[in-house]
């Protein structure tokens, strides 16, 4: 039994354990401890084998990069789980199931990230999205949650159906379901020559594309995300925004870093269009948004637009300097920076939210936060600066990597869009910061009581965001050694 699966086994078994435990005796504290410890152990296990990991079967492909990214995913889950306890405690629903769903979603995400076959990919995807649906509607009394759940459920079902159709068509024409086969084998190349003639083949690719675009909420399949963010409970939103998206994107990174996509010009054009549109529209949508959650939703559209830029930079027509790994590193770094930052934001929001007022998270509620709750506000401010990509934050390092890679691949038009859209973005990020330093208003209130775990998480976040922002050197070198290899 290969030890690369150790984290998976830990996570899924702990999910089962929780299920059984709950059946015997409900105990919130133990449950949360089980899940956290499980994730912690899994993380350690994952990190230990980052350097060495390499496993390839029909279904699963794990190399160092994948291992690293899965470590990232586990880390996100772990941090989130640390804050689940205080939040769930204030809820008067049965709590334990949430942990189970949470762990299952994490598991699904990791499968997606490591999948090398449509079957495994599909399984992971469904595990992820199906366990998220109940998490969205977990709060019984919340009408918005229900609406969000229904929307997410129907749309993701539609999306998976479309993806499946795409897969089916591909399978119909190529007779294979394995990515590596589709990407490298001779079959694909003759398909590539054939694809211009073959409409159905195009349709297949487009279907896959639309499905992915939906999962990553890229324009034009982005409409759902704001509603879901607004309606869903904060932890679920955080999971959705970071873990599920990250997982799919990790897969994209891998698929694109291997394989030769420049032989599908149409495909690249569509992707660039999507990227540009996402950057612009996302930021334009967020421009005057007063609901913080919707604002974050829209900004995440834009950020995944930026990430696509890194993807596109992987296979340029002509690069200034031919470095294969640069774009991959860029995407990884940006993903890391963005997910970490966003998670941090959500954690603080969870601390801010007492469960009644968590329904409408308007900017007004941040008014004067800086003067009332400096520690939280400073961290939040730093996080937003990181989202805006101001230097000395991890967000900037990511953006710098991105720009560097994109310039190297001479994606000038997309870079122009990047400049414009990040200006738009800056506008609303600054508005948030401004709101926090305003003279305190009436609605502003203190954080709910800070328990050790949340303090730890907050300081950790700040540390990561600023620390890596100021000294990205070691991590950069490490990432290079992983991906460059």
């Amino acid at each position: 039994m290969n030890q690369v699966f150790l984290p998976w086994i830990i996570i899924s078994s702990s999910a089962l354990l929780i299920m059984l435990f709950t059946a015997i005796k409900r105990d919130h504290l133990y449950t949360s401890m089980i899940s956290s410890t499980a994730l912690l152990v899994a993380l350690i296990a994952q990190l230990l084998q980052v350097k060495t990991a390499s496993y390839h079967s029909d279904l699963i492909f794990i190399d160092a990069a994948t291992a690293l990214l899965s470590a990232l995913l586990i880390l996100l889950a772990l941090l989130l789980s640390l804050l689940l306890y205080p939040w769930l405690k204030s809820l008067n629903e049965p709590k334990e199931e949430y942990y189970m769903l949470f762990l299952l979603a994490t598991q699904g995400a990791m499968i997606v990230a490591a999948s090398d076959h449509f079957a495994s990919f599909f399984m992971g995807l469904e595990l992820l999205s199906l366990s998220i649906v109940p998490m969205i509607v977990y709060q019984d009394k919340n009408a918005k949650a229900l609406e969000a759940a229904v929307k997410y459920f129907v749309l993701s079902a539609l999306a998976s159906a479309i993806i499946l159709m795409g897969i089916a068509l591909l399978y119909f024409y190529s007779g294979s379901l394995s990515f590596s086969a589709l990407l490298q084998d001779t079959a694909i190349t003759e398909l590539a020559s054939a694809q211009t003639s073959n409409i159905a083949y195009q349709v297949a690719i487009l279907m896959l594309l639309v499905g992915i675009a939906f999962k990553l909420s890229l324009v034009p399949c982005h409409l759902w995300i704001a509603d879901v963010f607004e309606g869903a409970p904060l932890p679920t939103t955080a999971l959705l925004a970071t873990l599920s998206k990250a997982a799919i994107f990790v897969l994209l990174i891998r698929l694109f870093s291997s394989g030769s996509w420049q032989q599908y010009p149409d495909f690249i054009t569509i992707l660039s269009l999507i990227a540009g549109a996402s950057m612009l529209l996302g930021n334009v949508l967020a421009l005057l948004q007063t609901n913080l959650l919707r604002l974050l939703a829209y900004s995440s559209i834009a950020h995944f637009g930026y990430l696509l830029l890194a993807i596109l930079a992987m296979h340029p027509e002509q690069a200034l300097v031919s470095t294969t790994s640069l774009a991959a590193e860029a995407s990884l770094f940006y993903l890391l920076g963005y997910t970490m930052t966003l998670l941090g934001v959500f954690l603080i929001l969870m601390l801010l939210a007492s469960q009644q007022s968590s329904l409408d998270f308007t900017l007004e509620r941040l008014k004067g936060l800086f003067w009332i709750e400096p520690s939280g506000a400073i961290v939040l401010g730093i996080l937003f600066l990181s989202l805006a990509g101001i230097p000395l934050t991890i967000g900037f390092v990511g953006k710098f990597y991105l720009t560097f890679a994109a310039v190297n691949s001479q994606l000038w038009w997309l870079l122009g869009t990047l400049v414009i859209s990040s200006l738009l973005g800056l506008f609303y990020y600054l508005r948030v910061i401004l709101m926090m330093v305003e003279k305190p208003g009436t609605v502003a209130q203190k954080l709910i009581v800070l328990n050790p775990s949340s303090v730890f998480v907050l300081s950790f976040m700040a540390l990561v965001v600023v620390g890596i922002g100021v000294f990205p050197g070691p991590l950069a070198a490490f990432v290079q050694s992983i991906i460059g290899s």
Binding site: E126, L130, L146, E147, L158, A161, L164, A168, G175
Partner: protein, 100 residues
């Protein structure tokens, strides 16, 4: 003997029907059904492709899709009940409190 192209055509038609069903019906229940139709269309195509290529991946996928369909229905019906409990109707158009 039915040719693969015919099956492809059939399943695509089925899929399109499902899509249209999803788009035109307001009732959540019927939307679920349309989703089922789509999934089945895909399933048919997989089976057809499997037999066309003489390998078993198609059948395996078919099984996976079946399980997926089942679990989706489970979750979906849960939602349906929830919704009916709250709004005494299954009209999804009423679920549009959140916009801009």
């Amino acid at each position: 003997m039915i040719s693969a192209e015919q099956l492809l055509f059939f399943s695509l038609t089925l899929f399109v029907i499902g899509v249209f069903g999803l788009l035109v019906r307001r009732n959540l229940l019927f939307m679920l059904i349309s989703i089922e139709i789509m999934l089945n269309a895909v399933a048919v195509l997989f089976v057809a492709a499997g037999s066309y290529h003489h390998n078993s991946d198609g059948q395996i996928m078919y099984l996976l899709i079946l399980t997926l369909a089942a679990s989706e229905v489970a979750v979906g019906l849960g939602l349906v009940i929830q919704m009916y409990r709250r709004t005494l109707s299954l009209d999804v158009d009423q679920l549009s409190k959140m916009h801009e």
